[in-house]
Amino acid sequence: MTAPSDAWPMYRAMVGVGVLCGALIVTVFLATRPTIERNEAEALRAAILEVLPGSDSSRSFAWSATDARFLESAPGSRERDLVYAGYDGAGALVGVAVEAGGMGYQDRIQLLYGYAATLERIVGMRVLQSRETPGLGDRIEKDPAFLANFSDLDVALAPDGETLAHDVEAVKNGQKTEPWQVDGITGATISSEAIATIIARSASVWLPRIRAHVAEFAAEEGGAR
């Protein structure tokens, strides 16, 4: 058995190294955190302006279930249920960007899409996070023909204003006939369908809300920041 005097150097080494390592990690964490947060905010801002072509500033709004209306939230806040309104140079509302997520082929896909409320169209989409198969599924991020689906996608509401007139759906490559269909990528059927499903599910919740409360995004006096 090990006597206490033999155990002491072991404790000393492990605890000593542990304390030093802990201190180093905390220092680096504190030093890099502002940069990481700034980069993330910047990436989100760039994505918002990209999915709402013609916008050059944005403000974030949170849906308040208790008041049943959209309330502006502080810039950079990371509350849940945020949407991002984009404005053009004159301060007029271009559209609202909504973040949505769901299961892809390999892992969760997180994306942002832009909804032009007056046109009732999706005008842009960008994948924020995905781990789809390189060379096949990851074409949902870059393939220009696939992304073109989302520059003018019909998401008109049904006459009752509560649901979509037609659910967004993916079809096989080259078989798109209706403006609410998404032309899939050959070899990436599951990933293409995942994107359509994620948008359809999110749109059925958010678009009726945004459409009914669209005045709350433009009502702020002084225009956009």
Binding site: V17, F29, T35
Partner: protein, 211 residues
């Protein structure tokens, strides 16, 4: 440190003669997983080099302070700390790069190359030599990863560092970006390396036996 020839040897051995990937076949997990593009491969190689140098220096400095019984646990603690540091730094430098490397940054901890150098070299040698050993092995690892990454990106996507090399309409050889492409490319490089070594050995023998 006093003998410059020995120092140079510690640096060079990891680069070529004892190359961690092509000769020792260590650290295969990141080699196969993140060598799908040249940028990913280089970033992974540099991150590993940094961790290897820092852990070698730390282990070497603490070598008389760490009892034998708990050495492995302590080395892992030291390595994990530097990996966490690298993780934060890469995250701060580029979100895209951090996303591309994903879990493989954290997995540097279990890269047997790093623990292997700490145990086999840094725990018995002075700080200066340990740093050179880490640098040599790290750069050798970088070289190997980059050789794989460049070949796979060129054949699989038709680009190198995202610069297109082929005329428009080039259809990438998708299998090269997938995991199986990593195995094919690694096999081809190992073949080349061993062929060169065998030829050189053969020439030495031929010189010693006068015809």
């Amino acid at each position: 440190m006093s003998d410059p020839a020995a120092s140079t040897d510690e640096l060079v051995k990891g680069l070529w003669r004892d190359n961690p990937v092509f000769v020792q076949a260590l650290g295969m997990c990141p080699v196969l997983a993140v060598s799908n593009t040249a940028v990913n491969a280089l970033a992974m190689g540099l991150a590993t080099t940094f961790v290897l140098c820092m852990s070698n220096v730390a282990v070497s400095l603490l070598r008389s302070f760490i009892p034998r019984q708990v050495r492995i646990a302590t080395y892992i603690l030291i390595i994990a700390t530097f990996v966490t540091v690298v993780d934060y730094v890469i995250h701060a430098i580029s979100l895209d790069l951090h996303r591309a490397l994903g879990a493989f940054i954290s997995l540097i901890v279990v890269n047997c190359l790093i623990l292997g150098r700490a145990e086999a070299f840094a725990s018995r040698n002075p700080v200066g030599l340990s740093l050179l050993d880490g640098l040599g092995n790290g750069l050798g690892f970088c070289l190997a990863l980059f050789s794989l990454g460049a070949v796979r990106e060129i054949l699989g996507s038709g680009t190198l560092f995202d610069v297109s090399l082929f005329p428009a309409g080039f259809q990438g050889w998708v299998v090269m970006i997938l995991p199986s492409g990593g195995f094919f490319t690694l096999a081809a490089w190992l073949l080349l390396f061993n062929w060169v070594r065998a030829r050189r050995a053969g020439r030495l023998v031929a010189q010693e036996v006068p015809s």
